[in-house]
Structure formats: C-alpha cells, structure tokens
Symmetry: C2
C-alpha cells in the first residue's frame, strides 16, 4: 500500500558482491520487488532478476520453490516493512487520528511523485493482476490487505471516539472505503501520470468526507 518499495537494504540490492546467504536471499527479494513493481508478475523473468545481481540459477531454487513461491515471499517481505511503517504512522501519539491519515497520504504522494507516477503499490498491482491467476497469491494478498484495513479501522475508530471522524458509519466500513479509495487513487495517478488523483483523494477524504 505504501506506493513504492521501502529502500530498506539498497546496498545489498545494488552491490555486485554478496557475502552471505542471507544477503543473497535479501538481494533476490529486493531486486524482485523492484522489477515486479515496474513490470508486474507475468512480465518479470527470473533470469532478469538473477542477471541484475549476478546470482546463478541454482541459488534461486535454493531459496524459492518456484516463481509463485518467490512472489509469495516478496509479498511477505514487502508487507513486513510496510506494516511497520503503518504502525509507526497510525499509532503516532503526537498526531490526531486524522492527522496520522494525512501523514500517511502525504508520504505516499511524495513517493509516487518522485517515481514520476510509475510503479504504484506492489500489493495493489499484484492483486489486480493475480487475483484470478493464483489462489496462493490471492490468499496472501487478501490477508495483507485485510491487516492493513484493520490498522486503518483502529485509527479511524480512535478518531470517532475523539469526535474528529464521523460516527454514522462503522470504522470498519470507513476503513474499507479508505483502503479501496487509496488504491484506486494510486492506479489513477499511474494511468494519468499525474499526482492529482492522489491529492484529490487526500484533500476530499480527509477535509470533507471523513470529518466528524
């Protein structure tokens, strides 16, 4: 959901020298994320990932059973970082719940903007592409999104209790709308190659639609 990949270990991704097994796996996952974000699952070739970091094919199958398993581990790896960001942002005690949602949006907008409105959200992209193609990936993606939605719901519920967010709808339903609206806005930014749809989402949703 954070629209582009967290640069958590860019040294490992960029470096031609990989010294440990863990480094190799991390490099494969991070390079896979980079390429899959840009091209999607179907257009990502294992060979392209391997060539980019100079790892032999045997290494890949040491860590991953298949391309599908690679994508599954990519989803979990990406989710780990993104959930940490979500927790940090949505439980920030120095901001009100509505301000936290705004900080989250603003960070996402900055990232999509700095990527020239390319790539988008890895989880959203894979969901759109793979929902009908792989039951294994669909289940993993669905669980990740459900977890994110529940984190939004907890923040929204806090805002409702404080009277900052409207209470005529459940926090669950507002979080569902928030998540799907945000994913839709990222897709609109990608297709228009303009950041406006994401700015409009942030302004209209937070300044008007959700206000208590």
């Amino acid at each position: 959901m954070q629209p582009i990949v967290q640069q958590t270990n860019s040294e490992a991704t960029m470096s031609p020298k990989i010294s440990t097994k863990q480094d190799t796996k991390t490099a494969l996952l991070e390079t896979g994320i980079e390429i899959m974000l840009e091209k999607g699952y179907s257009n990502t070739g294992i060979q392209e990932v391997l060539s980019k970091i100079g790892v032999p094919k045997g290494s890949f199958y040491h860590y991953f059973d298949s391309k599908e398993d690679f994508a599954l581990q990519i989803i979990n790896y990406f989710d780990g970082f993104h959930t940490a960001t979500l927790l940090r942002t949505l439980r920030n005690p120095d901001a009100t719940p509505l301000e936290r949602l705004r900080i989250y949006c603003r960070n996402g907008i900055e990232k999509v903007s700095s990527a020239q409105c390319r790539r988008g959200c890895l989880i959203g992209n894979l969901s759109q592409e793979m929902a009908d193609q792989s039951e294994v990936l669909r289940e993993a993606l669905s669980l990740v999104m459900q977890k994110w939605r529940d984190l939004f719901a907890a923040c929204i519920e806090e805002g409702q209790k404080a009277g900052e967010i409207r209470s005529d709808c459940s926090a669950h339903d507002l979080a569902e709308i928030y998540l799907s609206g945000w994913e839709g806005a990222i897709m609109r930014a990608k297709i228009t190659k303009r950041i406006d749809p994401m700015n409009i989402f942030m302004e209209v949703t937070l300044e008007h639609l959700l206000k208590g």
Copy 2:
C-alpha cells in the same frame, strides 16, 4: 468500468461460423475481451484467441497491426458499449442523480457477483497492468477514464444543484473520488472473492459520504 463485458454479440462470439469480415473482426474483439478480462494483457496469447473462434493468423493481422493495436481496439470497442450504458444510466430522467449512481453500482455489483468476483473491470485491469508498459495503451485508457469521470461529474453536479449531493467539494473532485473508489472496490472484490467491498462502497458513499 462496468465490471464485466457487455454481452452484445454473444452469437458472433460463440458461433463457429463467421460469415462476414465485420463478424470476424467483432468475434476477435469480443473473444479478446473475454480472455483479457480473465488473464490480463501479458497472459493473453493471440493464438488462444484465434483457436477459440477458428480464425487463421493471417486474418488477425488483416485487422490488427500488432497485439498492442488489438488491445487498443479492444479498449475502444469496450468503451463504446460502456459509455452507452453510462449515458443511459446517468441521464435517466426517471431517477434522481443519487438514484442513478445507485443503479449504476447495483448493476456492477450484480455483474461481479454473477462472475464469482472474477475478472473485474477491463479498463481498471489494463490500467493497472499497462500504465508503465505501453504509452499508447496508457493514453487510450486515460482518455476513457477521463470521459467516464466527466459523465459522473455531470450527474453529481445535477445532484448538487438539486441539493441532493453535498456542495462543499467540486463535482469534478467528487467524481474523481467516486471513480477511483469504485475501481478500488472492484479490485477488493476480486482479491477477497467477496462482494462486500462493493456493497460497502455503494452504501457508505451514496447513503452517507455524498449526501447533501
């Protein structure tokens, strides 16, 4: 945006006998839509389309310059039917603007539901998949969505004038949110394989968020 393809010429699609040139082209387009909706652009093979309706490869290149050109013509063909549906629904004089938006949602929900939450919206799917892969397709998809958004905006503006829809945001911005939220909700239905996200979108957006 209407989540699944209009069954406009299913006879031509299903029939093994294609009698005219126009029938052949239509059959190629409609079969292409069916397969692309399910599998996306990258996973759609021209040979699969041809085999399904028993047309030789030469015929394909008589009508289409390339796979990209095929997708472009599919987008325009699909848009033709869908814009007609949108116009009929969003300018229906027997319903209020908010009711028209509800009818549009309800029809979409029925279609996604009857497809077991598979497939989704052709334009949304291709946007997510191809925005960074083909500038030709990106421009076409962006124009189609812009037209749909403007049709929503006209309906919303009518609702604002009648006091049925809130007026503290522009019709343009509310339409942008409506379009991206709807596309996001279709994606959420696909990934959860449940219709709930679309129902929540309809109920919360029309009964609460947009209300004047």
